[in-house]
């Protein structure tokens, strides 16, 4: 199976994600640079966190229009699985692969801490190794994680079981609508989430709650 991590100027945790993918697949993923216009056919593409292009204009807007993203969108439309973490989630909404937008946190502060997450849908390609409604701990680190969409879009997300993760009761760090921490497209193969599963994927990092996300998607694609 071919996995790739897209590296933008200002990405972070791209190497952490690569470590998680290598642990799950046994081979190191391809690291693809944002300016590349070509990308070998991939089964799984990860857009990591960070501050691509300095968050200029809007978070993720510049990255969404970079040469490599035309390839990512084309492969997603052909059925490749795509995971966007934090800034990667922002990029997925900006390029139209996921609905809605990530706005500034209502508290106006950058929030960097562990959050309690509820697995709201444990049946998609990424989350099937978790239990339905299981509570896990995954850290967030963002200033623009406040998920917003109009009422019709939110109703559609609920109707089609597209809400993968929500913040635990009383633990919403950013004011996101419906406590949304992560959503998928209707196929369940494109996931965007604000929390960083790669930052809690080994016991040495304080816990392994994030690990099943990577092993889960790799098993789904095997």
């Amino acid at each position: 199976m071919q996995a790739a991590v897209i590296v933008f100027p200002g990405s972070n945790c791209d190497r952490d994600v690569a470590v998680c993918l290598e642990a799950a697949t046994g081979t190191a993923p391809l690291m693809a640079w944002h300016g590349d216009a070509a990308l070998p056919d991939c089964d799984l593409i990860v857009l990591p966190g960070g501050f691509s292009y300095g968050d200029y204009l809007r978070c993720g807007s510049m990255a969404a229009n970079s040469p490599i993203m035309r390839e990512v969108v084309a492969q997603a439309h052909k059925g490749a699985a795509v995971l966007g973490i934090c800034n990667g989630f922002q990029i997925l909404t900006e390029c139209g692969l996921l609905p809605g937008v990530l706005m500034q946190n209502t508290g106006l502060n950058f929030v960097c801490r562990d959050t309690r997450l509820k697995v709201s849908n444990a049946q998609n390609a990424f989350t099937h190794l978790y239990q339905q409604d299981e509570e896990i701990i995954i850290p967030v680190a963002h200033n623009e994680g406040n998920y917003f969409a109009d009422e019709a879009t939110l109703a559609g997300l609920q109707e089609h079981q597209q809400i993968a993760f929500t913040y635990g009761a009383g633990d919403n760090p950013n004011g996101a609508c419906l406590d949304i921490a992560g959503i998928t497209d209707r196929s369940g193969k494109i996931l965007g989430m604000m929390p960083h599963p790669e930052r809690r994927a080994e016991a040495a990092l304080g816990g392994e709650d994030g690990k099943r996300l990577f092993t889960g998607i790799v098993e789904s694609l095997a």
């Binding site: 204009l57 809007r58 807007s61 229009n65 909404t93 900006e94 609905p99 809605g100 937008v101 706005m103 500034q104 946190n105 209502t106 508290g107 106006l108 917003f148 969409a149 109009d150 004011g175």
Partner: protein, 82 residues
């Protein structure tokens, strides 16, 4: 030809920065401020001389990059004097 594009949040979309500015104005003693909304202003210098073509091109720019129409409105003003 020069253009000025104003990008503002749609009504109903929460604007935490606008709210913070409103609170700060209140703390400075400015009374009667009923609301503050913060937006962006982008100036663009175009080589196009035909106003209709310039406006069409600017609309495309707004739709594809400059504004996120999920939450933002845009308003294009052309300075035709040059």
């Amino acid at each position: 030809m020069k253009a000025i594009i104003n990008i503002t949040l749609k009504s109903g979309v929460l604007d935490p920065q606008g709210k913070a500015i409103e609170n700060a104005l209140g703390q400075l003693g400015f009374t009667g401020v009923n609301g503050v909304r913060q937006g962006k202003l982008i100036e663009i210098d175009l080589s196009e001389t035909d106003a209709a073509k310039a406006e069409a091109s600017l609309t495309d720019m707004c739709e594809q990059l400059l504004a996120n129409t999920v939450i933002e409105n845009y308003d294009i003003q052309l300075d035709k004097s040059e």
